[in-house]
Amino acid sequence: MIEPIYALLLTPLLAVAILAAVSNYRVGAAINMVASGLSCCAGVALLFVERVRGDLLIIDDFNIYLVILTTFVGFTTSIFSASYIGHELETGRLTPVFLRFYHALYQTMMGAMTLALVANNVGLLWVGLELATLSTVVMVGLYRTPAAVEAAWKYFILGSVGIALAFFGTILVYLVAQDVLGQGLAAMRWDALVREAAKFDPQLLSLAFVFLLVGYGTKVGLAPFHAWLPDAHSEGPTPISAVLSGLLLNVGLYALLRFKMVLAANPAALDVGKIMIGLGLISVVFAALMLYRRRDIKRLFAYSSIEHMGIITFAFGIGGPLANFAGLLHMTMHSLTKSAIFFVVGHIAQVKGTQRLDDIRGLSTTHPTLAVGLAIGVFAIAGMPPSGVFMSEFLLISSSFPHAPLLTAILVIGVLLAFGALVLRLQGVLFGTPSGERGAVRATYIPLFIHLAIVIIAGLWLPEPVIKWFRIVAAQLG
């Protein structure tokens, strides 16, 4: 019996090799699904084996659920994309050749992200993230329309600058660590870093964190490093948008949080909380206002992703067990909900033949099921009960208001603004005289409604182990 963690890493690798070879897209999609399913199983299997804590790899309370989440969403997304790409082929937006690319890259990205998550080594983490970014860059440019190329280009430049800065930050961290931990891999191990953080040079550590913040912040899509995000979401294939919003942002945030743990363990270092609060608030308010003028449905939800990343960053910036708990919960809920939204949006765009919000009307009369899915998704993401997002926002606001009334007030205003914009657009899409052809949908609702069901259940009841993990991690985050 092989260790699940290696299965976790090897499955995508094998899949890439195979997919690169397979030319038939149906087979490719099938393999894609199988591979993602296997990694998902591997991820779940992690629960039942004892925790790994090696030189390169680590499994602890923090990343275990993120791994499961990532592989799970990857799995559902692969199911969705299987039903999605068929339509794309018919409309001729994609050719089998590109699909070959697509599937191979999909697995690359999944593997890279998993790697970044389970890495116990700052360098390895960085490699994984970079790999994931580059593969998504190519996928964003997949349609080869001018807009797509431009989006990919933008994504690429900003992404690689971010990468470079993050790398510099990583080097600095190593520099700061090597004095204490000695040279070599030892100085890059998470557990070691956190353990010894108190002894580090605060100045250099803070400097490092600034670079890491800007670098990985670009991945997370915080304003003002967000520029790549909306275009990349709106121009790439929808499954990729789902994965970007649902997973990549999370992984970037994960990296940031790991480093925040290190700084939190060093009392003399710069108080990063304030910076994160600032960035978070900027992102929330900015994104909320940007929502009002959107005409492209996918771009709309891309901005909503920015807003939520802002909320999460704010939560971790506030700190404290409750706020951190809320942040973690919000991370999870957001990735589930947002990917679900992108599933349904993808189908809507296909049946209506457009992504322009103005051309999508009266969905509730033409495609009730899609309409219901969209409505649930949007209300869930807007923080209406019963959804996990509501629970996390409840925790966050109610816990942070007494301590930071003014900041929380700003946050609340931002949330309200975003809510207004989303509902406005939602009503525009759902109601009114139907537009476009009422063609039948060939959509798989399974992933969509599985996600929504999880979100709603989580809004009413959280399983005990999850609460335990969150509590522990929240405590570590300080």
Binding site: L165, M188, R299
Partner: protein
């Protein structure tokens, strides 16, 4: 440091040459590091830097430039003077940042690291400055490259940083080059110049009433 030259240049080919020069300097620096730290594997990095950044990339860039018949002079957004001033400010800032390190708490073992950290920081910042002051895709690439140079400098300055890092650096640079070439090429075939500003034509939602 040679980055100033980079900022100063107004012609692409010249820019490339200076970049090659910078890379060579970097090679020397890294080699020196290798010698001083007595870490032979850094020589690999030096060699890597020399070959890739000193020879291959400039060559490739020249080829691209030639193939695209890009008009020779670079359109700068800001004039040379202000750019230089900004560059000076950035260098000052980087030194300011690095100096206090080690004062507080445990001192870093050798001062060399600190200086070379300062230089690396400076190069990185200057590289970014270059990226944002130039319109031209190729020069942006060059700016990015010099940024990477700074990284390598810093990486090698860090004692005994495992090999995985250099590998990843080189790896990233290669992919970088590959994808850049890809995109420059594509942009070439889509638009009639590699002017990044031209891309804005293709953005939706401009000026639509709410």
């Amino acid at each position: 440091m040679l980055s100033f030259l980079l900022l100063y240049q107004d012609r692409i080919t010249a820019t490339l040459n200076v970049f090659a020069l910078q890379s060579v300097m970097l090679t020397l620096a890294v080699a020196w590091q290798a010698y001083s730290q007595g870490a032979p594997h850094l020589l690999v990095t030096a060699l890597l830097a020399l070959v890739v950044k000193g020879v291959v990339i400039p060559g490739a860039m020249h080829r691209i430039v030639r193939r695209l018949e890009i008009h020779r002079e670079v359109e700068q957004v800001i004039g040379g003077g202000p750019t230089m001033l900004a560059g000076l400010g950035l260098v000052a800032l980087s030194f300011l940042l690095v100096l206090p390190i080690g004062k507080s708490g445990r001192a870093l073992t050798n001062p060399l690291v600190r200086e070379d950290l300062a230089f690396a920081l400076a190069i990185i910042l200057l590289g970014m400055l270059m990226m944002i002051t130039r319109r031209n895709a190729v020069t942006q690439v060059v700016g990015f490259m010099s940024l990477e140079n700074g990284l390598v400098l810093a990486a090698t300055g860090a004692k005994g940083m495992p090999l995985v890092v250099e590998v990843s650096v080189a790896f990233s640079v290669l992919i970088t080059l590959f994808v850049f070439g890809l995109f420059v090429f594509r942009i070439r075939e889509r638009f009639d110049s590699v002017d990044v500003g031209a891309l804005d034509r293709f953005r939706g939602e401009r000026g639509e009433p709410s």
